[in-house]
């Protein structure tokens, strides 16, 4: 469904110089920052980022910012409401005060999963319900990263976090935010990941071409919170897609389309075993029950996708 007229048809169409400034305090190898800089290349500087509390709040620490456009930090729960205020104000300025169109900005919410799946969900739901014209980017590192990676509503089953250190890791299951968002019938919902930059660029371009709520969730491999060597960030991202753990898909006009179907899915454990947060599934001995359960979940997902014809 992604536009065939996209300017991103092959890898060489991706930008080779980048807009987001270097020198930010994100961790070395941060998968969230990787996705953000790829996204920023497509969205450009005519943007105002509205941020909720999380790792990325430290992108702009007085007196430094990596952004060429604008930025507003709000609080953990209400970034979409901040976007509402700014969007409405820009509309008012254009309608009543003659603000020229070239001065207008795309309003972009940027939050972590903790805010998106939990504390900020009501504000997000409200913004979609009001058909707010904005883009929401959730970088999903599957935990409250900035406070030391405690489990959140996005933490996957069995992952070890600072608040789930028991023998079996996190007892809960990752919430299906894509479906929750899609149930609001917004203009666009998509999953992306920095390790699939072409798919990401096309989706951000699609989002840019639409009006209304355009909702993006980026899985954000996090060396610090997931406990792996930073150099593996992209490999882990690719494995998330190849094992089927992170389905790349988009929702538009009431339909869900998978944009990159892993036809020969690798076993989920290929993804799990690269990360310290799942080490207890392999050491001191393999936890076959949990490994089977995690594989079965992914299998069930993809067989339902096949049933629905993709």
């Amino acid at each position: 469904m992604t536009d065939t007229t996209t300017r991103f048809r092959r890898m060489k169409d991706l930008p080779s110089t980048h807009l987001l400034g270097t020198g930010t305090p994100m961790c070395a190898g941060c998968g969230g920052l990787e996705a953000l800089h790829e996204i920023y290349d497509v969205l450009g500087e005519k943007t105002v980022f509205v941020n909720a509390a999380g790792c990325m709040t430290l992108l702009s620490v007085y007196p430094f910012t990596p952004f060429r456009g604008s930025w507003l930090y709000t609080a953990m729960a209400s970034a979409p409401a901040g976007a509402q205020g700014i969007r409405d104000a820009l509309d008012i300025l254009r309608e009543k005060k003659g603000l020229p169109p070239e001065e207008d900005l795309e309003v972009v919410v940027l939050t972590g999963d903790g805010a998106a799946y939990g504390m900020g969900l009501s504000a997000t739901s409200g913004a979609m319900e009001r058909d707010l014209d904005f883009i929401y980017i959730c970088y999903d590192n599957e935990g409250y990263g900035n406070t030391g990676q405690q489990y959140s509503g996005a933490t996957p089953h069995a992952a070890r976090t600072a608040t789930s250190k028991g023998a079996h890791g996190f007892a809960g299951y990752k919430k299906d935010l894509f479906s929750i968002w899609a149930a609001h019938r917004p203009a666009y919902v998509a999953t992306v990941i920095g390790s699939e930059p072409l798919d990401l660029a096309r989706k951000i371009e699609t989002a840019r071409s639409l009006k209304g709520p355009r909702m993006i969730i980026s899985l954000a491999p996090c060396p610090t919170g997931w406990d792996y060597d930073p150099r593996d960030s992209v490999d882990i991202g690719k494995l998330a897609v190849k094992t089927g753990v992170w389905p790349l898909k988009e929702y538009r006009d009431g339909r869900v389309l998978h944009t990159k179907v892993p036809h020969e899915r690798l076993p989920v454990e290929e993804y799990l075993k690269k990360q310290g947060r799942f080490a207890h599934l392999f050491e001191p001995e393999r936890d076959e029950t949990l490994l089977d359960e995690l594989q079965a979940k992914v299998d069930v997902y993809w067989s339902s996708v096949e049933l629905q014809g993709g």
């Binding site: 110089t17 070395a28 920052l33 990596p66």
Partner: protein, 317 residues
């Protein structure tokens, strides 16, 4: 009171070092305070932790301004002002640097009069972000320099602090800590207790009256664009990616796209260039480069080679 500061990089265990030393002091009958500098700790970024110990209850708090002993786990940090290694260091401060270079080289380079001791530990380790056991090593050396901590207290402190990680880890740490303890034995008790600040003869704080300023100035607003490039995150790097241009096949700029920091730009003719002022050394490019044209070189080695080339004495780039 003893005031001790540990400097290192995120991931090198400086908090552990401060806790081991704190526990050892405590074991030896001292009142103790130990704490890491709280903040966004990033792997490879300069961080520090500190310990206070005294026979009396300690009322001082917070960051140590005038240390009696400063321990540096990674010598590449010493000349970097942002790491604060030399903050408050006076002629009475003992400086212990983990370095293969001799003490007098450092003495000369830093031009300070206080005693400097070097401790050549784990120089062969490639990636200094995970110098193994360096925290315990630093704590062991510190215990000896202070001179009032019996070896048994040090051993017990390591067992207490690291017990949760299993006996193998404890063993290796003990080995390294005790080796360092022995190594600096000639300097037993060199670090002495600093005095309390003098209430009669002190430097008066130069208080200012804040002027009322307009909100344009006094709101936390940045009017500049993309000025974060003024922050040199390159100094977090413990490994340096180096491109072998003879092997680079000018692909669709894999390295540039995947670099999380966007620190690799590609010139018009398709040649990638790494911005070492900002590359944090995550090595994602090394892992992703299709023809394996990027190698990971230990940063301290790369710097040493650079300074040899430049004929200088090892200032950072």
């Amino acid at each position: 009171m003893y005031r001790i500061r540990f400097h290192g990089r995120g991931g090198q265990g400086m908090k552990t070092a401060s806790r081991i030393l704190g526990s050892a002091f405590f074991e030896a009958g001292y009142e103790v305070q130990d704490a890491p500098r709280y903040g966004a700790e990033r792997r490879g970024a300069p961080i520090f932790a500190y310990v206070r110990a005294a026979r009396e209850p300690i009322n001082e708090r917070g960051i140590i301004q005038h240390p009696d002993l400063v321990i540096v786990a990674d010598d590449t940090l010493v000349p970097v002002p942002a790491s604060g290694v030399l903050a408050g260091v006076s002629a009475c401060t003992v400086l212990l640097i983990n370095s293969t270079e001799a003490a007098d080289v450092w003495q000369h380079r830093l031009n300070i009069s206080g005693p400097i001791i070097t401790l050549p530990v784990a120089a062969e380790v490639e990636d200094r972000a995970d110098l193994p056991y360096i925290g315990a090593t630093c704590a062991g050396a510190a215990a000896q320099l202070i001179g009032v901590i019996p070896q048994q207290a040090l051993i017990h402190a390591i067992e207490t602090e690291l017990g949760g990680l299993g006996s193998a880890v404890v063993e290796r740490n003990l080995e390294n800590a005790l080796a360092a303890y022995e190594l600096v034995a000639p300097h037993h008790g060199l670090a002495s207790e600093g005095a309390a600040p003098h209430a009669q003869d002190y430097e008066r704080p130069d208080w200012a009256d804040l002027p009322l300023e307009t909100a344009r100035i006094s709101a936390p607003t940045i009017y500049a664009a993309a000025n974060s490039i003024e922050v040199r995150t390159g100094l977090w790097r413990t490994l340096r990616p180096v491109i072998d241009y003879s092997r680079c096949n000018r692909c669709w700029w894999v390295c540039s796209t995947f670099c999380p920091d966007g620190a690799i730009a590609v010139s018009a003719d398709g040649q990638p260039q790494i911005d070492y002022d900002h590359c944090k050394g995550c090595m994602v490019c090394v892992a992703q480069c299709p023809p394996h044209a990027i190698a990971a070189i230990p940063e301290h080695q790369a710097q040493a080679e650079e300074s040899q080339l430049a004929g200088t004495t090892g200032d950072p780039p």
